[in-house]
Symmetry: C2
Subunit: 381 residues, 2 copies
């Protein structure tokens, strides 16, 4: 006898396992950034095989990948069938998001992962066809590495600037520009700030193809040099924003390039990572994949090299948002930083939140964007 049909739902055991990262999947309300709906989770994950429910196993993420990928293809079909620009755009956006969630924790087949991230980009660009977004995309070389980027200008409102202030946004380890970063970028756009987004070495489309640059500030310096040639951007008013591992990169940028930035936002990065061996299994793989590293000893060496010492002064203001329960970047080092830098380093700690404080993403994204917008406003005198 076939089991009775019932509406799709995320199975309870899987809910138990995944509850902590559901706010990551649903993320932040976005107009153009790729995003899923709740029903997508229910459809993709219904009847997920009980025997595979171990987040630490490659089999789990293989099954997960296939399911999200299938749903992504359904959206591609819907996009191709839609007779309207708005309908196609909406379906492409959903497809892009599904392909991202398919690959975000999948590390078994690097070729496939790269293809999937390429597909995210393609679907995203299709979703933007015929929009009025002032977006230009391009790429530049950082050494041997191709760095794709998007520069988006705010919509022309009543008061038009001759040149916009600009925020450079960095991915973390497993995010993509078209989903997570874009959602944050819109917060700045809405406040009259241009945004520059990019896939650095080991990020976005580059992940698994080349390692994250240990001197990431050299990539950012190159971006600043490029932006200086953009007449629409006022490089005297630059901000930097990084999320998760990108928050750590933001701290590096503050340290090494601080004089070129009005302000820097560190979203849940910190000066020091937890010891490599203490990380959850999947996260170990995430770091190993992004740094193209080897065994635990090599990875710990990398972690040691990454560590930033606390300084007594900063050449730019830094806002940090952190969860007290963060087990990737322990909060203590940020508290030390706050102690040392005082008003130059406002630190908002959510006592009951973990890495990236995702339950509060809507609330703090407002506060963060407001803070940065104030720092980038034209000074009156």
């Amino acid at each position: 006898m076939k089991p009775a049909l019932k509406p799709a739902r995320l199975p309870e055991p899987l809910y138990r396992l995944c509850a902590y990262f559901l706010p990551r999947l649903m993320f932040l309300r976005s107009e153009h950034g790729a995003q899923i709906h709740w029903g997508d989770i229910a459809i993709a994950l219904q009847d997920f095989p009980a025997e595979l429910q171990d987040l630490g196993s490659a089999e789990f993420w293989q099954e997960w990948m296939q399911r999200w990928s299938r749903l992504g293809h359904d959206y591609v079909t819907l996009a191709n069938e839609s007779c309207s620009v708005a309908g196609a755009s909406s379906a492409w956006r959903s497809a892009a998001a599904c392909f991202h969630w398919a690959e975000f924790m999948y590390f078994s087949d690097p070729v496939w992962k790269t293809q999937m991230r390429q597909r995210v980009k393609e679907c995203f660009m299709r979703s933007l066809e015929h929009t009025e977004l002032s977006l230009c995309s391009g790429e530049f070389m950082h050494g041997e590495v191709r760095i794709p980027y998007y520069l988006v200008l705010p919509a022309q409102k009543v008061v038009s600037e001759t040149a916009w202030p600009c925020v450079i946004l960095s991915n973390g380890l497993d995010s993509v520009t078209e989903v997570e970063v874009f959602a944050f970028a819109e917060q700045f756009l809405a406040r009259g700030i241009a945004v520059f987004m990019f896939d650095g070495p080991g990020q976005g489309i580059n992940v698994g193809c080349n390692p994250i640059d240990m001197q990431f500030e050299t990539v950012v310096q190159q971006i600043i040099t490029r932006l200086k040639t953009e007449p629409a951007v006022d490089t005297d008013r630059l901000g930097f924003f990084g999320i998760s591992f990108g928050g750590y990169l933001a701290l590096r940028v503050a340290r090494y390039l601080g004089q070129q930035f009005q302000a820097v936002v560190n979203l849940s990065g910190g000066p020091r990572l937890s010891p490599y061996v203490t990380l959850p299994r999947r996260l170990k793989e995430d770091f190993r994949y992004a740094f193209m590293g080897g065994d635990a000893i090599e990875m710990q060496n990398i972690f040691d090299q990454l560590a930033l010492t606390v300084q007594e002064q900063s050449t730019t203001d830094i806002l940090s948002i952190h969860g007290a329960l963060d087990d990737i970047f322990p909060v203590a080092a940020l508290e030390d930083m706050h102690q040392a830098l005082g008003d130059q380093h406002p630190l908002k700690v959510y006592p009951s939140e973990a890495h990236v404080c995702l339950n509060y993403i809507n609330q703090y994204s407002i506060e963060v964007a407001d803070w940065l917008a104030q720092k980038l406003a034209k000074s009156v005198g």
Copy 2:
């Protein structure tokens, strides 16, 4: 000893109870419509008392209401504290959504419910301050009942129409214009169609103050008469869209006013309701509240009066979207209608979905809006 802090999450037993309406809470991606984030659910419902977990009890919804209301107030604070238009707008939108979810299944105190729905409206209007949306709001009298409405015109794009086609959208029993209806309305706006949204008798702000009109088409006729005085609206190209009980109202509109509409969308309404006594407890109360009815016999009388017979012809095209497992409007009567009307009544049935097919809201909203847009396009000859 205090329990260890951990990130907010929807407790598992509550997830089990609420899973079927999570896609209702998360609803449809919307630019201006009020909407929550996943973290809001986790924050509002964390540590929900185990002893109250009975969806059929008033105590459950009392607790639920208080929690969402508290979160709504947090967003009001955030809105007032934000130093940017974009930040305030975003926080007001979240506040409006929280206040709606606070009251949507709360029927114990009609005065409070009305106040809460008033607050939804206020927060929503605050969220629209300084937006470029071409929205005008107003009200008219239907007999003794005050009917508030919003008329929104599409953004002026390259090809500007002299007068826009227009879709009139109807609420169901427990939705509000500012949340669910607005999200659908944006789909039409994005396709160059004006939208007219309203709180009819027994709907939105009127629920519990006056009953749903048994001849609801008289309200719609009045709206058409108003729209004829709007130079921006082309009343030769009108559509009607109703969701849930509003879908039933759409069928009434097709029946009694069909000649005035190019096309009608019935989203999960049907010609006949299930017997009153077979409805789940909370839904009984929902109907009783909206019709201001009495006991089960009186309610069944109302249901009997509402029933529409199947006709052999229709004066307008009707698209119905329905879940085969719908236990409020059984699908069989729609299949009969489809049998009788053929091509005039395309019927899309999701075999594994229940009322309003909420897991597929993103997918079918694209198809529905595309269908209606084609029906309202200027004919070439």
